[in-house]
């Protein structure tokens, strides 16, 4: 958690009107509008101009990117950082819970994600249950409050999960008994989802009925609001995106059928390691796929995976992204994307799209982020070499036109932070030596 001190001045910057920024003489990988050698003007947190020659406005901060590569901030469609709890796994439908309630803006993983060039991530509930909790899309605004992390204008999401995790039985409880949570099979997972949406439809109908009777002037007691069913009604109404954890082709098809039957859409299939087998069906439903490049075999349902998965699904017309699902992998998503060029022959732009514009589309935030285009948020990552090279390092990261990561400054700040830490440890040790024994605490609180 080293960055707390160093970032204090940045907070002040947020409040004051930031001066314009010009990033000049870099190779600009716009992802959607080609690549050019030139400059970029950032004004009021937005990309204002892109071109080979840009007039530097007075008072502008100039970043020299000679020999460097400028790309849109990386978007990670599947992450669990910055949250103080991940799974409400005690029940099979936990749609009443949400990541937004437990966001932790002080998780060091945010800063480390920045150091890997990530500016936006979809923070998902875990995969312990068939219908999990609500997700939050955040920007890596390190040093800000939980609310300030939120990606304003992003569409709300919810996590679903299929297969081994949701059918896993509960552990022992405080009394030694084992909770036999339903379901225990893949069939049961389907049933849980069907049952939940059947309830959600009835719930929606009960409110419609209430409104109708009330408007007729009848005396009625309002139905109880149900925080578990409300998000599911939003899914039915197309107001909440479903991100479904899955591996096997059979369960993928099952979920698409259930969704079609109940009249809602699966926005993304997550992991989806067997997606290459059913890519046509995924494309037909209109679901996106968010997968790993070459991470598998960590459990039985994750064995039948191939590194060509992303490329094959892309060729079959599926909107594909590469995600991290890990705070470590999150720091080199650029390398993960590059692997799809070797396995499956995606082009450079296609590979970059997997970690920028595609996940942005999947999260329906592509009008704001995911590419370098005039008018979009100035979420910019600068690499010292081509980002698809193993040897590239992130030098600077901007979010909304503000500098959130600077490699040089990070390195310069390290000695001061280390000595502050040493000072505190020494002081605490001395005080502990001095302090007399204390009485045992009263129990209770």
């Amino acid at each position: 958690m080293k960055r707390a001190l160093a970032l204090a001045p940045l907070t002040a910057l947020w409040l004051a009107a930031a001066p314009p920024i010009v990033i000049q003489n870099g190779t600009i990988l716009t992802v959607t509008k080609g690549t050019l050698l030139g400059s970029l003007l950032i004004k009021d947190g937005k990309i204002a101009q892109i071109g080979e020659n840009i007039k530097i406005p007075s008072g502008a901060m100039v970043v020299d990117a000679t020999g460097q590569f400028v790309m849109p901030g990386i978007v990670d469609c599947h992450s669990h950082i910055a949250a103080e709890s991940i799974n409400e796994g005690t029940v099979s439908v936990s749609s009443m819970v949400g990541i937004q309630d437990v966001l932790n803006p002080e998780d060091i993983a945010i800063y480390r994600a920045l150091a890997g060039g990530v500016t936006t991530a979809n923070i998902l509930h875990g995969s312990a249950n068939a219908i999990g909790g609500k997700c939050s899309v955040i920007k890596m605004r390190w040093g800000r409050t939980a609310n300030e992390l939120l990606f304003v204008g992003s569409k709300p999401g919810i996590k679903f999960a299929l297969g081994e995790n949701p059918k896993r039985r509960g552990g022992g409880n405080a009394f030694g008994a084992t909770t036999l949570r339903y379901p225990a099979t893949r069939m049961g997972v389907e049933d849980v989802i069907r049952e939940a949406f059947t309830q959600a439809k009835a719930y929606r109908a009960s409110w419609k009925d209430y409104e109708a009777r009330k408007s007729r002037g009848e005396l009625v007691i309002p139905p109880a609001r149900d925080l578990k069913l409300e998000p599911l009604v939003e899914v039915l109404d197309g107001r909440r995106l479903v991100h479904a954890h899955c591996y096997r082709q059979d369960e993928i098809l099952m979920l698409l059928r259930v969704a079609d039957e109940f009249g809602f859409k699966i926005r993304t299939l997550q992991h989806v390691l067997e997606g290459y087998k059913v890519a046509k069906e995924i494309a037909a439903h209109g679901a996106g796929a968010s997968t790993f490049s070459d991470w598998w075999a960590y459990k039985v349902e994750a064995y039948d995976a191939i590194p060509y998965n992303a490329a094959i699904m892309t060729r079959k017309g599926v909107l594909v992204s590469i995600n991290s699902d890990s705070d470590e992998l999150m720091r080199h998503l650029n390398n993960e994307a590059a692997k799809t060029m070797k396995y499956g022959g995606l082009t450079e732009t296609e590979a970059l799209s997997l970690i920028t514009i595609n996940p942005a589309k999947q999260l329906m935030i592509d009008s704001k982020v995911g590419s370098i285009e005039v008018g979009k948020d100035a979420d910019i990552t600068i690499f010292d070499a081509h980002p698809l090279s193993n040897f590239s390092k992130v030098t600077k990261v901007f979010i909304d036109g503000e500098l959130y990561f600077d490699r040089d400054r990070d390195i310069a700040d390290r000695p001061a932070l280390a000595s502050r830490k040493k000072e505190l440890i020494t002081k605490a040790a001395e005080e502990q030596k001095k302090s007399p024994p204390v009485s045992p605490r009263r129990p209770g609180l």
Binding site: E84, T90, A174, I221, K228, I425, R441
Partner: protein
Amino acid sequence: MKPGLNLISLIHCCSSALFAEGPAVYAIHDARVVRVSGPPIEHCTVVVRNGLIEAVGENVVPPADAWIIRGSGLTVYPGLIDALSTIGISGPRPPPATPALSPPPPAAGPEDRPSNTSFLRAADQIVAADPSVEAARDGGFTTAVTFPTANIFAGQGVVFDLAGMRIGQMVIDPSAGQYITLRNNGSSFPGSLMGVIAYIRQIYLDADRYKVAKAIYDKHPKGLERPAYDRTLEGVIESPRVLLPAHRAVEIDRMLQLARELKIRPILYGGEEAWRSVDSLKRSGVPVLVTLKWPEKAKDGDPAVDEPLRVLEMREKAPSTPGVLAKNGILFAFYSDGIATSKEVLKAAKKAVDAGLSTSDAVRALTLSPAEIYGVSDRLGSIDNGKIANLVVTDGDLFADKTKVKYVFVDGNKFEPAPESPDAKKDLEKTQ
């Protein structure tokens, strides 16, 4: 000195626990009086009659019927208030609402009301003879705010005086507020922090609807479905304020937001990192109960563990929190957080003084501020005419190491603390 006084002192020396029928009128004469509601007065007299403060001032003449206590060299403070405690409740936990022979069935969701005893009242659970009552009183505490603490919705606290023959006479306010914890329910719902928060949200939604549904039904019972009685919602509705745990800045932020959303009147407890949350606390006007159990490295902790700078800073700066809050005009009070002896409680408060809190603000955080937070400042917390005669009389500054508590008045009854026995101290050291 009047002859009667020696006799009374003698009785009290023999057994301070003895609740003797004492005189009804006392006058502490020529003492330094720290009123808290105003500047301290030197050579001041305080008259106590029938449990109330009858007069305070330099020129007050002790009434003829009063037992006089010679106050020169002594300081009179308002009785100390422990703003959040389990004083008076024996054992680690309040007894369960219903004796459980078998484990409770796992909760399927909020509708099963897991970990919810919002209807419990500490006022019904405190025991006058509990040793913690006398121990706190001997150290100068005359009032405690005690809560049931066992569940997410643990129950309602009580403001009560630390002496009395019957609980009913000790209670000042049986509805101090609802104590909420964010302890998850293990393998049963809610099993995570976000589950707990979602559960709290659902309970308050349900409580709102409960009120509406009952109101409609009570007016027109014919032809309407009867709303189900729910004691957990009753408990929530009856609570005038809600105590929410918030130690780190992130948690303070989170709880302030939750309280805003639920439209409840919160009191935050913990507050170790509140020095980082001055702006949001100021804006919200929410009071903070600051723990006196300052965070420290676990004594049996792994010495090799590399602790992050943020944790080290939190420990270092926690005692400076009260000073920062006072400077910014944020209402706060201290609470003992399970520290066993009043001496240690005051020593911990002294740490805050050493870290920048003025002594007068430290006294306020143990007297008038908690009274204000719990809405009883019209009867407690300062030395003013007509207020309850809860006083602590010391032979020096409250936070000085060598200061001894000479007398404690609770509801106008005088107590003398048992002298500290050197044996007790030795025993304590042995158990460490």
